[in-house]
């Protein structure tokens, strides 16, 4: 399939680009470490499961916005014109989403490790928590990639990225917090299956919308 081949090449290009500009990745990692450390210093001794849960997801949201906002601005517009002539817009957006999924998966696992190291491990049901983490990475990467492509078309990109994405990411984030919140308090899965289905529906809807809408943004 042509789309599959385009996707592979573009995906590998994203990885190569990231490894070439290593300072961007290092910047995000340091951002992650310092935010967790700030919350650790601010919250030592007063942490409950609820605060643990909300802090973790809020940190992950900020890290995600930081990491993904560069998606469409790190290469110059002339290069985008070049991609426009050789690849389909669907392949571009899917490759970006896939690459950001990989980035988010790595970042969320690192965030979890560091968070657990400093704040203590409160997870009762690791399986459920990791399900939330994976579905959350996918959801955050797809919503934020789409918003990054919208924000890249306008001036004052970074603050726009935040105001456009925060209200939109809420359905995803609230469901994630609910699921991971119950992974912190009980070891059972019951009651969480509907929420996991909601997460899956949100993910599918977002990816479908990105797939359908991105060609309009791309054609300039």
């Amino acid at each position: 399939m042509l789309l599959g081949r385009e996707l592979t090449y573009l995906f590998l290009k994203e990885i190569r680009l990231e490894l070439k500009q290593r300072y961007v990745l290092n910047g995000i990692l340091l951002y992650l470490v310092s935010t967790v450390f700030v919350t650790y210093l601010a919250f030592t001794g007063t942490i409950t499961t609820e605060t643990w849960n909300s802090l973790f997801w809020i940190i992950l949201l900020f890290v995600a916005v930081n990491g993904i906002s560069k998606s469409f601005v790190q290469e110059n517009p002339a290069r985008h014109l070049y991609y426009y002539t050789i690849a389909s817009p669907e392949a571009i957006i899917l490759s970006k989403i896939l690459y950001n999924l990989l980035l988010m998966a790595i970042l969320s696992v690192l965030a979890l490790l560091f968070f657990v190291l400093l704040m203590g491990n409160m997870i009762q049901n690791p399986g459920l928590f990791f399900t939330a983490l994976i579905l959350g990475s996918l959801g955050l990467s797809s919503v934020l990639t789409m918003i990054a492509s919208i924000a890249s078309r306008a001036s004052n990109n970074f603050s726009l990225m935040a105001i456009l994405s925060f209200p939109i990411v809420l359905p995803l984030l609230m469901t994630l917090m609910k699921v991971s919140g119950s992974a912190l308090t009980t070891a059972s899965w019951s009651g969480n299956i509907p929420l996991i289905i909601i997460l899956l529906i949100i993910n599918v809807a977002v990816i479908l919308l990105a797939f359908l809408l991105f060609p309009y943004l791309w054609r300039d």
Partner: protein
């Protein structure tokens, strides 16, 4: 002549009826809420108006992406402006009401949060529009954002009640409501439905005037 503006007269008459008869109609005697239940004719109308205007905006954004006709973009943005006006009025009428019945102007409730998030999304939409210089690019980018945001907002409004409990009277068969267990009684319905139609028609009227105004403004700029 009358064929083109009969609905404006209808809107005026319906709202006049709702404002006058809304204060006379028999209401059920209920604790806590008492006479303040009459606010339902005005407060709920704001949400109906906002929701209809957002649907209009969504449809015209889809239409814009189909043919890139600037006319559709103009309707999309003006519908959002009218929806924001309704939204803010809805928040204010709700806050006054909540202060009497729930004891504070803002409580943690899925309907309030859903409405507030809707307002934030569309304020962001306005800011997005003002930060794109080129007219055609602005129309395209904001149409894409509008479609994307509207669908996610609908998902948010639908799933939110599942994640938390509400103080608002229930719709459908959910009975977990402390405030208004029986919903609307028949005499209130005779005011409620005409009032809702009146508010929606008024919104359409404002939308029509705003679209004409923006058309004239653009023409003046071009001269």
């Amino acid at each position: 002549m009358i064929k083109t503006y009969w609905w404006k007269i209808l809107s005026f008459l319906l709202l006049l009826y709702a404002v006058i008869y809304g204060f006379y109609v028999d209401i059920p005697q209920m604790p806590i809420i008492h006479q303040s239940i009459r606010n339902i004719f005005y407060h709920v109308g704001m949400w109906f108006g906002m929701f209809i205007m957002l649907i209009v905006s969504f449809i015209y954004s889809l239409k814009y992406l189909k043919g890139f006709d600037e006319k559709n973009d103009r309707i999309a943005i003006e519908a959002v402006n009218v929806a924001l006006m309704f939204g803010f009025l809805g928040i204010f009428t709700g806050m006054i009401w909540a202060n009497f019945t729930w004891g504070s102007p803002w409580v943690k409730d899925p309907k309030l949060n859903g409405a507030a998030v809707g307002l934030v999304i569309y304020l962001a939409y306005i800011i997005l529009r003002s930060s794109v210089e080129d007219r055609h690019k602005r129309a395209k980018v904001s149409a894409v954002y509008n479609i994307f945001a509207f669908i996610l907002w609908i998902i948010f409004v639908l799933i939110l009640p599942k994640l938390s409990s509400s103080l608002h009277p229930a719709t459908g068969n959910d009975s977990s409501t402390p405030v208004m267990p029986m919903g609307l009684n028949p005499s209130m319905r005779t005011v409620f439905y005409p009032a809702m139609i009146g508010w929606i028609l008024l919104g359409t009227w404002i939308l029509q005037i705003r679209v004409r105004l923006s058309k004239i403004k653009q023409r003046l700029e071009e001269i």
